[in-house]
């Protein structure tokens, strides 16, 4: 099985187009970092302008606010919406791309089972997701910390602001990246399923993005009937639950509690639902692939 996984990884990482995702991500992160490096204070003023009626902010606070942790948070908010496309580029291609090239025959005329092949392709997609996230962590977290330094992280919410002490932030990023891995693996599993249904790699990529887009719109819409019936079951609703690691509990005096997460059970529940979706997509992929006639 490991040898098969090595083959799949070799195929993914030997293709030049795989690195488009890494390049695109680096370009976006560097552009954000560059803009905030030269004009960060204006950005902070804009962020705080919504809260200026109820809070007074000192200049020192405003200066300290713009640090590596905040920049990373901004980047994650921007990029984790785009990353499903980058994941679909590889996972959506894994079966349909090979079918269109004819190399699926090359694999399926060998003594490996179809379930094994799906597992291996899924595992390779997971490794790709982890590499993307590691790359993002290097660029967005390490890069921003080196460029802007560290300080307390202040996160703006519609209900107010959350402030975390700087030595209480790093583990939250680790947890958020871990959660993002589960969320993006869900997209990879969906893309793999759609790839099984197609013989053209463009189809699964577009279909994955369409599903993510429609579900995200439904997740964000404020229609009461959907709030209790549809939204809780859309995987896109749960993909953004990584933000929960940056919402902290407050004690009786209103001070934030170190190491706390405001609603950890909700975050874990979201993770559980995403894992359920991964299992469902994977099982369906195997079921359909085992019955599929390879005609290309």
């Amino acid at each position: 099985m490991l040898a098969l996984l090595w083959i799949e990884l070799n195929k993914i990482f030997r293709r030049p187009r795989t690195y488009i995702a890494f390049g695109a991500m680096a370009a976006i992160v560097w552009l954000i970092q560059l803009a905030l490096y030269f004009d960060g204070q204006a950005y902070v003023d804009l962020l705080l302008s919504n809260l200026s009626g109820s809070f007074e902010f000192s200049d020192l606070f405003k200066t300290q606010l713009l640090n590596g942790y905040l920049i990373c948070f901004v980047i994650l908010n921007t990029l984790l919406i785009q990353m499903p496309l980058l994941v679909a580029l590889v996972a959506g291609d894994s079966i349909a791309g090979e079918a269109s090239q004819g190399t699926l025959r090359f694999q399926l005329t060998r003594p490996i089972s179809r379930a094994q092949l799906i597992f291996v392709k899924f595992a390779a997609s997971v490794v790709y997701v982890l590499c993307l996230l590691l790359w993002l962590a290097l660029l967005a977290l390490l890069g921003s910390v080196l460029l802007f330094g560290v300080n307390d992280l202040v996160v703006l919410r519609s209900t107010g602001i959350e402030q975390m002490q700087m030595d209480d932030v790093f583990w939250r990023y680790l947890a958020a990246f871990g959660f993002a891995a589960i969320a993006l693996t869900t997209v990879a599993a969906l893309s793999l399923l759609l790839s099984v249904l197609s013989e053209n790699p463009i189809g699964p990529i577009i279909a994955t993005m369409s599903v993510v887009l429609v579900f995200t719109i439904l997740s964000e819409m404020n229609i009461p009937i959907y709030d209790t019936t549809v939204k809780p079951w859309l995987f896109t609703t749960h993909m953004v639950a990584w933000k929960g690691f940056f919402y902290v509990q407050a004690d009786a005096e209103g001070a934030t509690v170190r190491g706390s997460v405001e609603n950890l059970p909700a975050v874990l529940r979201s993770a559980g639902i995403l894992l359920g979706y991964i299992a469902l997509f994977l099982w369906t992929s195997i079921y359909l692939f085992r019955r599929k006639d390879i005609l290309t």
């Binding site: 098969l4 083959i7 030997r14 030049p16 025959r105 090359f106 005329t109 003594p111 490996i112 006639d293």
Partner: protein, 311 residues
């Protein structure tokens, strides 16, 4: 002797279209078994079913005495195939593609062994070149190398000479002969060209529109006593009488007032020409085809059902 491959009442339906209809055949160990038919006759569909790429609608396949559905992995460990056209990863080298094929078969041969395989198909000097730079013939030879990498007992080659130049065709033909003669492999080779199959196969099966039409050993099917001679003659009435009276002529089929086909032993063609000349019947043209070729041409040139010329 137990056949290596036994196909029984195999059918495949795609919606309302029946691609393969109730075909049965057996391939014995050491044979080169030819699969002949026009494009769309059902050859590739049948071979895909043997390679488990397509699920049959009905029927069963046994390979090495084992049921294919129940023992798929066990069987495929001993089968190598190139179905339709050999497809490789163009951005990888010939050596890397071959090594990948080996790993997929569950083996990890040494570099030396893989280089020997490439040498066998004449690609050792291009081992490091990306496959996307290869000609069609080189890809075909690499396809055969990947099919042979795990030393299978049964090799299936679907249209192996398709798209090749004459030298490429000769190379592949030579490779197939060597595999059969020197390495005692059993091969199933499909083609839409009878001339190709008759040069390499011991036995033959003709498929047409998904149905089996003819099956038999080549030396029996190409029996010279069953040659079809096409004649272009000047006097139908006189020729008819003469041909009917000649006892070694099997059958006469007039195509027009000038053209007829007669079934007769090939070695008596000069005698027939002499008889016609002595009877003052002008002979404008004489062409001989063996009966299998004649039958296959009838199949490929007409859409109507033609009864087999060879029983």
């Amino acid at each position: 002797m137990e056949p290596l491959v036994r196909v029984s009442h195999l059918s495949k339906r795609f919606g309302s279209f029946e691609a393969v209809r109730d075909i049965s055949f057996e391939v014995n160990r050491g044979q080169v078994y030819g699969f002949l038919g026009q494009n769309g006759a059902g050859k590739s569909t049948t071979l895909r079913m043997i390679m488990t790429l397509i699920r049959p609608t009905a029927g069963s396949i046994e390979v090495f005495g084992l049921n294919l559905e129940q023992h798929r992995k066990e069987i495929l460990r001993q089968v190598g195939a190139v179905i339709e056209k050999p497809d490789h990863y163009g951005y990888l080298s010939a050596y890397e593609n071959l090594r990948m094929a080996a790993v997929l078969c569950g083996i990890h041969p040494s570099r030396e062994k893989l280089m020997q395989q490439l040498d066998f198909v004449g690609l050792a000097d291009r081992a490091k070149s990306p496959v996307k730079t290869f000609s069609q013939g080189m890809k075909q030879r690499l396809g055969i190398a990947t099919a042979l990498v795990h030393d299978p007992a049964l090799i299936i080659l679907d249209e192996p000479t398709n798209g090749l130049d004459p030298q490429g065709i000769a190379d592949i033909r030579d490779l197939i002969r060597r595999l059969s003669r020197d390495h005692q492999k059993t091969l199933i080779v499909s083609s839409h060209l009878l001339s190709e199959i008759e040069l390499i196969a011991d036995s033959l099966l003709i498929l047409h529109k998904g149905e089996k039409r003819i099956e038999g050993k080549m030396n029996e099917l190409l029996n010279p006593a069953e040659t079809i001679v096409e004649l272009e003659l000047g006097n139908k009435a006189a020729a008819s009488i003469l041909l009917q009276q000649t006892e070694w002529i099997g059958s006469v089929d007039w195509r027009s007032d000038l053209q007829c086909c007669v079934r007769m032993p090939k070695n008596r063609i000069p005698e027939l020409v002499r008889l016609l000349s002595e009877a003052d019947i002008p002979v404008h043209a004489v062409a001989s085809k063996h009966s299998l070729e004649y039958y296959f041409l009838q199949l490929t040139q007409t859409e109507t059902h033609v009864g087999p010329a060879v029983d």
